[in-house]
Amino acid sequence: MAGNVKFDLNHPLMEAGLESPIDEEGAHESFRQLIAEQSQNGGPSDAFELQDLQRQLDEEERDNVAYLLGPGHELSQFKGRRQRETEWEDPETQADPLMGERWSSATMKILSSMPSRTIGRNRGAIISQYYNRTMQLRRRRQSRPAIRDFSRSARPSIRGYGIEADCTDAEVSKRDRLLNNLQNLSVSDRIQMLRAMPLNVSEKSELRRLALQKEKHTLSRRIPCCSQLKYYIIIGARQSWYSWLSFLHALHLWQVPLKRVSGRFGSGVLSYFQFLQILLFFNLFLFLVTGAFIVLPQALHPPEPPAEKPSFTGLELLTGVGYFSDTVMYYGHYCNYTLRKSCREDGGVHNVSLSNGIRPDCVSKLSYIMPLAYFFTIGVSFFITCIILVYSMSKSFGQSFRVDKSHSILAIKAFCSWDFKVIKKTSVKLMSENICTQLKELLAEVGHKQVKNTQCQRLGRLMVHSLAWAICIGSTTACVLAIYYCSHDMHQNLKLNLLRGPRNPLLIEARLLALPVLVSLINLLLPGLFNLAAWMEDYESPSVRTYVSIGRNLMLKVSVLGVLCFHWLGRVAADPKSIGLKCWESFVGQELYRFLLMDFIFTILDTLFGEFLWRLFSEKVLKRRRKPVFDIARNVLELIYGQTLAWLGVLFSPLLPAVQIFKLLLLFYIKMSSVMMNCQAPMKPYRVSQMTTVFITLLCFPSFLGASVCVTYTMWSINPSSSCGPFRGLKTMFQAGKLWVEELEKDNPNLSWLAQAHSFLVENPLFLFVGAAIFLIVIYFQSQVVDGQRKIISLLQEQIKNEGDDKKFLITRLQTIHEQKRTPARRLASQNSNC
């Protein structure tokens, strides 16, 4: 037999382990010690119970070979042998190869204390795992102990090298070592470690208390007071950070409604409202920045009012002209000179234009160059918005991106698909049904082979797809052309009005609403047409259907916005005099205000008709029991469209973010009540994190990028109006910055390097090309890294499989050897007893 077995039985270690094969007690004694060691760290562990069992077995003087049922599995039922025998017959256990073997109780004990079985169960295992982690974290943070903290007995070669040397007491248990590590981490790291430990809160607070206690003791020994001061400062900072977090949490809007929505509809519909919150945050930020730096200074130093000011009629709220046209709301109101606090006794505000010099008898300290402020505020706020967007996009992408394409669909569906947020009974029932349906579909997919479509079927499907796409593209083109001609028509009308003279000013104002109404109508009706076209198509999976629908809607909105931007920047801005505009920027700002408002009104109408009336109709007339489903993708795209308009309009109307905030607040409550009353949870599976990533990407790429390209183009190439606004008299808005730098240089010749750097960086296109090239190279490298990681993952999976095979092999071998050693001993014992 020795020849078959691969390991060396005569090896001294093996001899030591199975010292006296005759003496069974000896073999079990060593295992008992092992278990005792493991049990020291925690309360009664499962292995301990097995130890009791072993004592019972030994008392009966029989080495009962028990089936491996797993430690902790109904151990309280291990009362008699008969019970055990009935459990041996359990057909379930026969199926499992590892469990079907006859293990001795010794092997069972070893198996029960294997690390893979003690994860999360055994406190000792958790503590040692977190000891390793804190050690790694300390190494990374390099919080090595100071050399003077070493005792003199530390060997000189390890002084200051290994961190292990700072704990010279060799018998310190793992827990004390963990405490030591915790104490040496920074406060935030310690808190992070504590929070992530899967231990009970009482144990964690005990660890924390001990760690802090130790820290206090070591602190009191420290002599230099500056480090103690630093400690107190850190504690104080942490306290204020906590109170700031509490304050933010209290401010956190809409916790209760969000909980109601998530309780009834789950994470999908919740993500729409969370997206709304994100947009609200962006607009709030824009509003605060523009309000503080542009609107407020101008409001405090108003220019001379014009000769005649139109009175307030109700139409202003819709059209944005009339009473509002010469207020801080629009670009035209802002002055192009430096605002200065007067230095004369009468207290009047003295305005000096850029081109004139400073009056010699006026030396003031507070000056605010309006054009520069306008230009830089818009630029900086766009830049910061860009950074925040890209950051949240990459974070969301990181959370939802999985390197390995999913193979374990069924398992994921079984374990990760239950939404724990849903608490309403009917919604829970619905979710159960959905999961059931999805599991059945997956089983059908997994069970059957893919049915190969015949050529005919494939051709048929292709034709249907192309027909649907033709309908969608055709209708989009038709609508875009309609908008183009309508805007052209309006343009001509305005020209005619200028020639003939105004007939009815109110009617003319109302006619300005025609284009926004047309666009909003298109935005409302065309997605319905797209849905109809998609209904006749047949897609492989629901996610493909969702993506195609989003793609078509996006195409519509991008083309509509494109033609509108062409109309404003290409037609109106190019020749404002022909339609009698003194201030084309204000006109564009007013247009955007009208568009935003019409969009809001039509969304409310859509909610009313699309959801409320449709529910009544389907309940009363069609007698359907199910309410309409809330279309998350379509609603989110509407939000993105509105936000694009707001971003386009900030340059021309600095108060537009405030209008958008107001609109979003109202929209939240309207949509919330509509959803609760009229809709039901979506029936199709909705991948929340993937969809959220897609929406934030859409917010960043077509939406924000498009808006910033338009704004940049306006600032860079278009002539501002010569008689209004902060950039009057300049060739482009961009020149404000240049002129200021030139003035600085004039005043202070030492700063000429700044002017040169400015002109080089900003006017040289090479800088932009180099920046873009670096960006692309970085992206390419990252994609290569991801590919490499995929390969490593498949290699590791193979290795894990091999390790599993090794484990099985070793266990069976050990078992065989142990039995072989035992059998001659038993024969000997029985022979002795017989004699």
């Binding site: 902790g72 190869p97 009970n200 809160v201 991106f401 069924l410």
Partner: protein, 187 residues
């Protein structure tokens, strides 16, 4: 910070703040919710950390857990005695693990414990069968359930022992981006 509350000492609240993902206000609110479950049992004053445990029959009456098919397992997992009697520490622990800011790893560990019905540190076919029955509330036929169990274990098992160890489970969950948002209870 300026609230005059007598439920906890400042030190206790700080310990809670450092060891869980809740702020002071949330801890106090949680105490209110805990007390609502058994007002005669739970005292208002927790400064001397009384050893009070609320039985599971009262805990599963909470609206957040009432309709959850795994409510019994959740409460058992977080209880110290394994039977579902939760002290306030266990209660806070439970909702902290299900919190939005709780990290993926912590949620994975507790999810594994919840789905491990027989507590043998492995999710065997029987555990999975019971999970599926709770998920679908008996809508699937036993053959379908068995088929799903077999295929799931086949998909997710890496080391070939025909049951899911924690490593297998963790690997499978890491491929599910929705796990974090689904394994979340709002309190």
């Amino acid at each position: 910070m300026g609230n005059k509350q007598t439920t906890f000492t400042d030190e206790q609240l700080e310990a809670f703040q450092d060891c869980t993902f809740f702020t002071r206000k949330e801890i106090l609110r949680l105490h209110g919710r805990y007390r609502e479950l058994a007002p005669h049992l739970v005292p208002l004053d927790y400064t001397n950390s009384p050893d009070i445990r609320v039985p599971p029959t009262l805990i599963v009456t909470m609206p957040e857990l009432k309709e959850n098919p795994f409510r019994d397992r959740i409460v058992e997992t977080f209880s110290e005695d394994g039977l579902g009697n939760l002290s306030f520490n266990d209660f806070v622990d439970m909702f902290s693990a299900f919190c939005e800011t709780s990290p993926r790893e912590l949620k994975t560990i507790y999810a594994f414990k919840i789905y491990d019905f027989n507590r043998d540190s492995f999710i065997c076919k029987e555990d999975l069968r019971r999970t599926l029955n709770k998920l679908t509330k008996g809508e699937l036929t036993p053959e379908e359930v068995s088929l799903v169990c077999d295929k799931s274990i086949e998909e997710a098992d890496l080391d070939g022992d025909h049951k899911l160890s924690f490593t297998d489970f963790e690997n499978m969950v890491s491929k599910a981006p929705d796990f974090l948002s689904n394994f979340h209870i709002r309190i």
